[in-house]
Point group: C2
Chain length 229, copies 2
DNA sequence: ATTTCCTGGATTGTATACAGGTTGCGTGCA
DNA sequence: TGCACGCAACCTGTATACAATCCAGGAAAT
């Protein structure tokens, strides 16, 4: 694997897991040190991350890890409400049996309330669940868009930590989607997906506007909500 | 403006207008000569174009202008059928009066049958029409996705040249969408957008599978259809 | 004739030197 | 004290040299 790709992957993980803090400004030199590489592949990785919306580049000025904002979170949810139901419906018509099996596999992880590691595993499985459905549509553009959407969304969930009491609900909603896809009922799959996204939007109203802000425009940024365990 | 951005824009135009032929393989050296620059900004531009799906990069091997395939065209249309109606509905709820005026502006260009220049102007206006609607949703992700979709779609229309007899139909459909948005009727806007995309899919069934192929996998690539003027 | 191995050339990936731009601080003046 | 100007340090953008990789083609062995 080339340096550029390695750096891209590692940096992407670091951003997603908030190991690189949202809103933090970084220089190429720092990144070179952190990932043991020269500027060229680092720059390449950064350009790609910018394209995905995870990094902001101001010409001649520097790099900023994209801050998490309520605006973006709303926009992402709104787009999920557009894409996911469509993908579910298409998957119900076209998914192969193997693909359905894979989708179901990703749907069944229940995290242990309060355990961070377990919660993070759930987040990855959840991401894969949605991406797998997109792949089952057979539409490559749908896959691209869904991957981007899920990548940007997962950062918000990493930040929130623990929506502990919802574990069972989430799995139930996922399984309802799987059943509709397996039964080859597009409209039902669409409805279950819509329901799932809306429920998630309701559940995450626990994301609040902070007083001080979180390294960015104070009025638009968000910060971790207190756990509700 | 930086070299990288200049090269990106020019190259993007060249790809969109099929001045750089779909399926053609190019080397960094050629591109450096063509755009009078060194490899660094050329590479940066290429990476970005790859991210947008306009260019394919095989590590250590070279670059290929993304070929036009029936598969991709279908996928793009399918996604347009997902995004455009949603965007139209959202725009009907949120567009400002200025935005509606802009949308209408882009909707009203009728091309002169048979004139290539006029047809290409129409294509650009059509692209702007769809993008402007996306902007009126106030959702930045929707804008990103629509821009990408329209950019990739316009290549297919540049290749086809002239859907001469359809000029009036297109404008009528566009105007019907504008009316629904101006009337603040989301569901009607959604329906008009759906109708428009489906009609376009029907109109472009004139894209045929070639015998010889067009610089790529012969079974999947397409070539210009004969004009129907 | 066919297959295998090796090498040369071409092309991309990476490192680094150099150029250009921006910011912020310090100085001098009003 | 306040403000404008200019310089210096820092950072990113660009050019280019060097390393790594891949593939085509040919020679040799079967």
């Amino acid at each position: 694997m080339t340096e550029a790709i390695r750096i891209y992957s590692e940096m992407r993980n670091d951003i997603i897991s908030c190991d690189l803090e949202p809103g933090a400004s970084v220089s190429e030199a720092e990144l070179c040190a952190r990932y043991n590489a020269s500027r060229t592949p680092v720059r390449e990785a950064c350009r790609r991350l910018q394209e995905e919306g995870l990094l902001q580049i101001v010409p001649f000025r520097g790099y900023t890890i994209s801050p998490l904002t309520i605006d973006e979170y709303r926009s992402l949810n709104e787009m999920q409400l557009v894409l996911d139901p469509a993908a579910a419906a298409m998957a119900a018509e076209r998914a192969s049996d193997e693909q359905i099996a894979m989708i179901e596999r990703w749907a069944n992880y229940i995290y242990h309330a309060g355990e961070k590691k377990s919660y993070e595993t759930f987040l990855e499985w959840n991401r894969n669940f949605h991406i797998e459905i997109a792949q089952a549509t057979g539409n490559d553009i749908m896959v691209e868009m869904t991957v981007n959407l899920q990548t940007r969304l997962i950062r918000y969930f990493y930040l929130v930590i623990s929506m502990a009491s919802y574990g069972k609900d989430l799995v139930n909603e996922h399984q309802a989607m799987v059943r509709a896809i397996r039964a080859r009922k597009p409209e039902q799959a669409r409805d279950r997906a819509t329901e799932h996204v809306i429920r998630t939007m309701e559940r995450t109203s626990l994301i609040r506007i902070p007083q001080g802000g979180f390294r960015g425009d104070p009025r638009k940024d968000i910060q971790p909500a207190r756990s509700r365990t």
